[in-house]
Symmetry: C2
Subunit: 153 residues, 2 copies
Amino acid sequence: MVPIELSELDCSVARTLDLVGDRWSILILRDAFYGVRRFEDFQHDLGIARNVLAARLKKFVESGVMERRAYQDRPPRYEYRLTPKGRELLPVMLAMMAWGDKWTSEGEPPVTLTHVPCDHTLAPVVACSHCGDEIRLHEVHADPLPVRPRVAS
Amino acid sequence: MVPIELSELDCSVARTLDLVGDRWSILILRDAFYGVRRFEDFQHDLGIARNVLAARLKKFVESGVMERRAYQDRPPRYEYRLTPKGRELLPVMLAMMAWGDKWTSEGEPPVTLTHVPCDHTLAPVVACSHCGDEIRLHEVHADPLPVRPRVAS
DNA sequence: CCAAGTCCGTTGCAAAATGCAACCCACCTG
DNA sequence: CAGGTGGGTTGCATTTTGCAACGGACTTGG
């Protein structure tokens, strides 16, 4: 994937996109969150082309999101595990999952999440790290504003 | 974008990906969150090819994430605004932004977010809708488990 | 009245990413 | 020694993107 030209677009969203902004990356990570570690299992579960899977795993390892570790010698076999950097992509996946469940599900949401510490069904929300309230669009002020809105809004 | 084959992969993440899982969609939405509404402004700010921008906006309108509204007749001119469905993609963008800031920024994070109600610098976190605590990977239990991990883990 | 500018696209063609199936190699199992 | 498993690579067709040019309907300036 060719990186987006960051000259005028140096935002963290774009940098995150360089890693997970394609069709398969987040789905691979999702399986990894659920405990999948091996090439064959990713491939079988997702139905992804093997060459694309190999390319994605390689990219994840190079960027420090996963590590490739041998779990046996002879024949050498490897598994792919999330690093802390990779595990912290969980919020991105949960946010996408929550949105998909709310707006695009036909019938029941297929997966119910339970938050173990409080033992309640979980709808992930994005909250303010300081006050804990849910974040709404017009309650956020960005500085410097990365784009120049035409009038004021 | 050809939808991912959902037969064995009917997860909300994949359905969200069908909308925003390409190189530009989230960046367009990001500009929209910041108040950009017109074709020319999106194009100029992002440097996106005009045909791709036209295709994305059309897709957003068709899927109900944006609405196309005339702001003048003669010549007919349209602007693109987020619908509620679209505004609720904010968490996805914030999560990507937070991750990019934390893990890929060289030097200072370019944008500081302030949460207006509590007047504090904001690091968006994904939290449990019930107890408000931040969500960690191993504190989430999914049912039914959408993939079959090999051993247990 | 004519030239230039603004806004929102469409069209054609080249480059890149992806999907698909076949192949490979090293081992293990019956 | 035949077949299966695991982890890939290679070649080729298809799809998606990027780029630049063009068009049409106005508005503005002189």
